[in-house]
Every structure is written in structure tokens, then in C-alpha cells.
Amino acid sequence: MQIDVKLLGILRDQLPAVQKGKAKIELQDGVSVADLLTHLEISRRVEVAINEEIETDETHILVDGDQVHIFTAIGGG
């Protein structure tokens, strides 16, 4: 299946600069949010929105065509 991923803020540095945080990623069916984070080598504390809805359960199973936005979990100021 293919997942549309967008890495926001400093997380975009996980991908080549030219991609500006955007990627289409091919994954096997049944992959979870946690698996995706591992695949992207993201070890920071992050939050995830799937199809514009916050998903706090990292065992949530992704499906083909999901739009996944990943961003850092900070307070700001």
C-alpha cells in the first residue's frame, strides 16, 4: 500500500531537503503508526494526524491512501 506522508517542522530534515518533508511511501499491508515511525527513523517525541484527525494510538493500522502528518509535540512560545 502507499501512504502519503508529510513531516512538519524539524522532522522534515529526516528526508532529503528537496522533498520538503513530503513523501509517498510504499509499505506492506497491516503496518501500524509505530512501524511507520520506525521506517522513517523518527525517534523524537511526535504527534500524528491521519487524514486530518489526531491519532494517539501508535498501534493504529494504516490503510492504503492514508495521509499522515507527523509533527513535534512541543508547547511553543
Binding site: 512538519l8 517542522g9 509533527f71 509535540a73 512541543i74 508547547g75 511553543g76 512560545g77
Partner: protein, 636 residues
């Protein structure tokens, strides 16, 4: 000889030109440590209740701390404290840069300014010497010009300048005190207080570095911070600035949009920190943003400050005036429905040139936009200005008009609460203020504990007076350091979250007493935790401060601030949230249909006062509470 601090407080009376140097004892420094905790001590001693904030009777305190100016990240900050002309409550604001450290090098831990000069003056403080000098030739000039003239006339390019711009001279009620033409004591109108005293600038220079009790321990902490930064949760703030917060705010439905009617903004990507990095940050055209487009404060490794430049088009921006923070991008941007980054950067430039708080300025304009959109402000009221959401050119023009008190800008220079009172016609319905101070860009609808802190905070709504909701569950080990050991969800409210709001408020209050940057030190995502803050203080001073002592210091400062307001007759009746937050549900995104439940909020407020051991009816600290914190003397 104390370590870390000078043991000297400078008192200047601008009416009489008297200059005195006070040398408080060790017990004073240990009890208050710096910032507004120290400033409040002098306000209670030197100012009666009920003074007009813009009269000579107001007292302006500028306080460093026992660790300001030592070689570690996040320590070069100063606090301005006086009665606020915006809120009529206590005023309190912090600024970074290099001037805080330089004040310590010049031989002083703080400055207290009383009275009013007959004509414009500036203070020249250098190596323990103090002069009151004529500033007639500086009056009316913008910050960049003043800085250049002062450096030229003193023959020293390394002097550090705190100054007001024309907005402070014009007594704009949210005028800022500026340094480097791009750092600000932004909030609560401290620039107007300085303007009311005919004090254009305070200039400092010195060579006396603070001595250290345990240099090796301090340098170990410094080196640890440099090494830890890249993998820390503040790395993004360094590279992309505070505007890195725009994306998380948007994604969680907490980006204030159209004057707090929505929590999501369609144009958010245009005002995000990564977009600024890719487009207008200096060096972006050559991929050199990291070296050219980031600025810092004295001895800080984070380098979060932005330097932007726009060379072409209607809104050209001079990099001398820095670049917008997240708050600025939101208030001039999403609050006003504007996604034009150059226009927002231009409004930021005007605020820094003229010396104004970007939060109050942008939020006051967004209030006027909603009032205009809803037909409560007419084109006659505005002097012909079309105050529609999204009108970027008008927003930039109006920002300058506010600073100059030109036309309709004169009314907005009073702040939105006073403007609504004057205009009437139901425009108060659109106010987003607590204690007459415009609300910063974090929404209580998305972060419920801020609904308590915005209301109870003694100097009006403030986003940097407590930790925001998500951190309790994300940082359990650090939270345990400050007595919080029952992690809670970021959503919803309960008694434990009220306790979280209060105890993190004490932690932030301690940081505002020690004057450390809240991106570098703190109880959650920060580079250093609260334990490391106590170790920093001990390495500098040779003391044996614990996190518990820091929490008590923070509680002491909160009680001093509240007691100041109580003396002014201000208590629980002013601990309010904007009515709109209770009455009108947000539209769109994750916070669609969300509003604050008034009954639940009031119950949580009751818990806050009980946990604080304050009088439940008045919301004021009791004598017993003040005595337990060693500040019962303020009731004498």
C-alpha cells in the same frame, strides 16, 4: 564577595536626578534571586497603591538575576516590572539579547527608575558609573537610528541599548522597550511607562564578568547543553524558530484564526517556520540560513532568533529589525486572516522600529477587523479604512498608524479593551482579552489549562506562565521533579490538571525570577530540566538550592504579583476569560464545535484558588499564605 551577582541595585530618580546605589544583603538575593520577584520587592517599598501608571509616581524596575551574564545558554534575560498602563494591574515582561549580561558587567543587578525628567534623557551606565544625559536629539527617532547615534556619540560600538521607539513616546498602551532593534520587553506596556518618564534609553557597558563559585561544574553543564541540543526537543526551535509551532497548532486545531473564531487557518503553511526558512530568512537564496539568518542571545547555543529580509515588492523588510516569532505570525497572520508572509514581516519590522508589542498590536487589529466585518465599526469610525479580514496592505498601514497615533490608529493605540469601551455598539463582544491584555496565540479551547492560567495570571493572559497541556503525559520524569506524578491526557479538565497548571506556573514563575529563557530551561521539553536549573544556580553562587526551593520561589513571585493587584483593589472579579470562548463554538478542524463549558471552568477556578491557599471569594493571597512565603511584610 558574592559569586554570580554584584550586590548592587541602582536607584535613579529622574525628577531630582538623585542617583543611589543600594547594597542588599545575601538573604535578599537568596529570597528573591532576581526578575520580577526582586522588582516586586521594590514596587511595594517605593510605590503607593492607586498611582496612575503613566504618572511620575509609577516605578519601573529592570532586574537581572544572580546568574545573568554567566557562560551558559538561556541566562541573558531581564525583567521589566511596573504598574501596567494597559491592564492597570501589575506589569511584567522579559527580554533577552545581550543587554541583560552587559548590565551585570556594568556592575549592577538591577535598576529602579522613579519620577519623570523635565525633558528627554537617557541613562549611561558604565563600569559602575552612572550619568543622566540629554536625549532631546533622540526623541522621535526610530530604534535603529537611536542605536546608531548613541554608539557614535559614546564612541563605543559595543554598548548595549534598551530604548523606547516613537510608540513609547506616544504612550501607546502596549508600547515595548526594545534592544538591538529586534528584542522586546513586549507585553504589558512597559515602553509607555518609560515614555511617560521622558526616558528614551538606558545604555550599558562594562567589563566586570560575574565570578563563579564552581567554574568546572558550570562548564560541565554548558558543554552538556551544547552536546544535547541536536537531539533535544528544542532543536527545531533553533533551526526553524518559534514559528516551528505553527504546524502543531494548526494540526491540533489551536491556531487562532479570524480573531479566535476558528482554530485552523487555510493559509497556515504560508506562515510556518519552514516556509520562512525557505523564503525570507537571510541567506535562503544561497542555502546559508543557518549562518546568516539565525541570531542569538549572550552565550546561547540555541540561536532561535530570526533575521529576515525582503528586497522586492510592496513590503520590503530590513534585516536589522530581526524577524517574526510564532506569536507575531499568528497575531498579524491567522488572527487577521492574512497569509502574506512579507506583509507580516513588515508589520513586525514596524513594531520593532517603533517599539510595540506584536501580540497586542496584531490582536487589536483583528478585534477591529471582526467588529468591522460584523458591521459594528463603520467606515466613518475607521476614517475610511476597509478593515476586512485578509487585507494585508491595510494591516501593515494600520500598524504604523497605531505607533504614530495617526487617525484611527490613535484609538487602537489604547488597546482593544479601551477601544471597545469607547466605540461601544457591542464591539466588546469581539474582545479577546484577559485583564485588558490581548490573548496570545495559544487557545484554551485546545489547551484547557490555559483557560485557568490566562484568567488568574496577574498581568493578563500569558502563554509563558505555565506548561501547556500535553506535557504532563509526555514528560513524566521531569514533571515528577516538581511534584507532579499523575500524568493526565492533554484533553479535558480535572482537579489534577488544575494542580498541574498551578505547579507548572510556579516553575515558570521561578524561571521568571531567575530570568532564564523558557526554551532553554523548564519542566518539560526544554534543553535543561528544573534539577539542572538548580545545579546551574549552585555552580554560579555556591548555594545549595533545590528544586523545592525553586518551586517556593516561584510561588512567592506569583503571590507577590497577586498581592500587588489586591492592593490595587483587583481580585477574582477580573480573573476572566473572553466571553466569546464560552458562547461561540469554534469552526473547522480538530476543535470544530468546541467551546469552554462555563460551569466546569468555574469549578476548576475554585480548585485553583483552594490549591493556592488563597481566599476563595476575593481570589487574593491570605496573610497566612504570605507569611508562610516570608513576604507577610507587604501587608504592613
Amino acid at each position: 564577595m558574592p559569586h554570580g551577582y554584584n550586590g548592587k541595585i541602582l536607584h535613579v530618580n529622574l525628577t531630582t536626578h538623585d542617583i543611589e546605589i543600594e547594597e542588599p544583603d545575601l538573604a535578599f538575593y537568596r529570597k528573591y534571586m532576581g526578575g520580577s520577584a526582586m522588582g516586586l520587592y521594590y514596587l511595594f517599598k517605593n510605590m503607593p497603591a492607586g498611582v496612575d501608571p503613566l504618572s511620575p509616581d509609577n516605578v519601573l524596575c529592570l532586574m537581572a538575576s544572580v546568574i545573568t551574564g554567566v557562560p551558559i545558554s538561556g541566562q541573558s534575560r531581564l525583567t521589566a516590572t511596573a504598574k501596567s498602563p494597559l491592564t492597570d494591574c501589575i506589569g511584567d515582561s522579559q527580554m533577552g539579547g545581550f543587554v541583560p549580561a552587559e548590565l551585570k558587567f556594568a556592575g549592577f543587578d538591577g535598576i529602579i527608575v522613579k519620577g519623570k525628567a523635565d525633558s528627554p534623557v537617557y541613562l549611561w551606565i558604565h563600569d559602575g558609573e552612572v550619568e543622566i544625559r540629554d536625549a532631546s536629539h533622540l526623541w522621535g527617532k526610530i530604534t535603529g537610528e537611536v542605536e546608531a547615534i548613541i554608539k557614535e556619540e559614546l564612541g563605543d560600538k559595543k554598548v548595549e541599548v534598551m530604548q523606547i521607539g516613537p510608540a513609547g513616546e506616544n504612550l501607546v498602551r502596549f508600547a515595548a522597550i526594545m534592544s538591538m532593534s529586534n528584542r522586546a520587553f513586549g507585553r504589558t506596556g512597559m515602553g509607555a511607562v518609560m515614555g511617560s518618564k521622558n526616558l528614551k534609553a538606558i545604555v550599558v557597558r562594562g567589563k566586570k564578568k560575574p565570578t563563579l563559585a564552581d567554574k568546572e561544574s558550570l562548564m560541565n553543564l554548558t558543554r552538556w547543553g551544547v552536546k544535547a541540543l541536536p537531539e533535544s526537543d528544542v532543536a527545531g526551535l533553533g533551526k526553524y524558530g518559534t514559528a516551528e509551532s505553527t504546524a502543531p497548532q494548526q494540526k491540533k486545531g489551536g491556531l487562532p484564526t479570524f480573531n479566535f473564531n476558528n482554530g485552523v487557518f487555510d493559509g497556515w503553511e504560508s506562515i510556518d517556520g519552514t516556509t520562512m526558512y525557505d523564503t525570507i530568512l537571510v541567506g535562503a537564496d544561497k542555502g546559508m540560513q543557518n549562518t546568516k539568518g539565525r541570531d542569538t542571545c549572550y552565550s546561547c547555543t540555541v540561536r532561535c532568533k530570526r533575521v529576515v529580509e525582503v528586497k522586492e515588492g510592496l513590503h520590503q523588510v530590513d534585516p536589522h529589525y530581526g524577524g517574526p516569532e510564532y506569536e507575531t505570525l499568528a497575531t498579524f497572520g491567522s488572527y487577521c486572516g492574512i497569509d502574506n508572509l512579507a506583509a507580516i514581516a513588515k508589520a513586525n519590522e514596524y513594531c520593532n522600529k517603533y517599539g510595540m508589542d506584536t501580540i497586542s498590536c496584531g490582536a487589536t487589529i483583528s478585534w477591529a477587523m471582526e467588529a468591522f466585518t460584523e458591521g459594528r465599526l463603520t467606515i466613518e469610525d475607521t476614517g475610511g479604512l476597509e478593515l476586512n479580514y485578509g487585507n494585508a496592505d491595510m494591516m501593515v498601514q494600520l500598524t504604523k498608524m497605531i505607533a504614530e497615533r495617526d487617525g484611527f490608529g490613535d484609538l487602537l493605540a489604547e488597546g482593544s479593551a479601551r477601544a471597545a469601551e469607547k466605540i461601544g455598539n457591542g464591539t466588546e463582544e469581539f474582545l479577546i482579552v484577559s485583564k485588558k491584555q490581548e490573548t496570545p496565540a495559544h487557545m484554551p479551547q485546545a489547551k484547557p489549562t490555559l483557560g485557568i492560567i490566562y484568567a488568574v495570571n496577574p498581568f493578563g493572559s500569558d502563554h509563558q506562565s505555565s506548561e501547556h497541556d500535553g506535557s504532563y503525559k509526555w514528560y513524566p520524569e521531569r514533571m515528577a521533579q516538581i511534584g507532579l506524578d499523575d500524568p493526565q491526557s492533554s484533553k479535558g479538565m480535572n482537579q489534577e490538571k488544575v494542580r498541574y497548571a498551578m505547579r507548572t506556573q510556579w516553575a515558570y514563575s521561578a524561571m521568571d525570577s531567575i530570568n532564564v529563557c523558557q526554551f532553554v530551561y523548564g519542566p518539560a521539553w526544554h534543553l535543561y530540566d528544573m534539577e539542572q536549573l538548580s545545579l546551574t544556580i549552585n555552580a554560579v553562587t555556591g548555594w545549595d538550592v533545590t528544586v523545592d526551593e525553586l518551586q517556593e520561589l516561584g510561588e512567592r513571585r506569583v503571590n507577590l504579583l497577586r498581592a500587588f493587584n489586591a492592593r490595587e483593589g483587583i481580585g477574582r472579579e477580573q480573573d476572566t476569560l473572553p466571553e466569546k470562548m464560552f458562547k461561540k463554538a469554534l469552526k473547522g478542524g480538530p476543535t470544530n464545535d468546541v467551546k469552554i463549558d462555563r460551569q466546569e471552568w468555574e469549578e476548576m477556578m475554585d480548585h485553583y484558588y483552594r490549591f493556592s491557599e488563597w481566599d476563595l471569594t476575593t481570589g487574593n493571597p491570605t496573610l497566612e499564605k504570605l507569611e508562610s512565603l516570608g513576604i507577610g511584610w507587604i501587608m504592613e
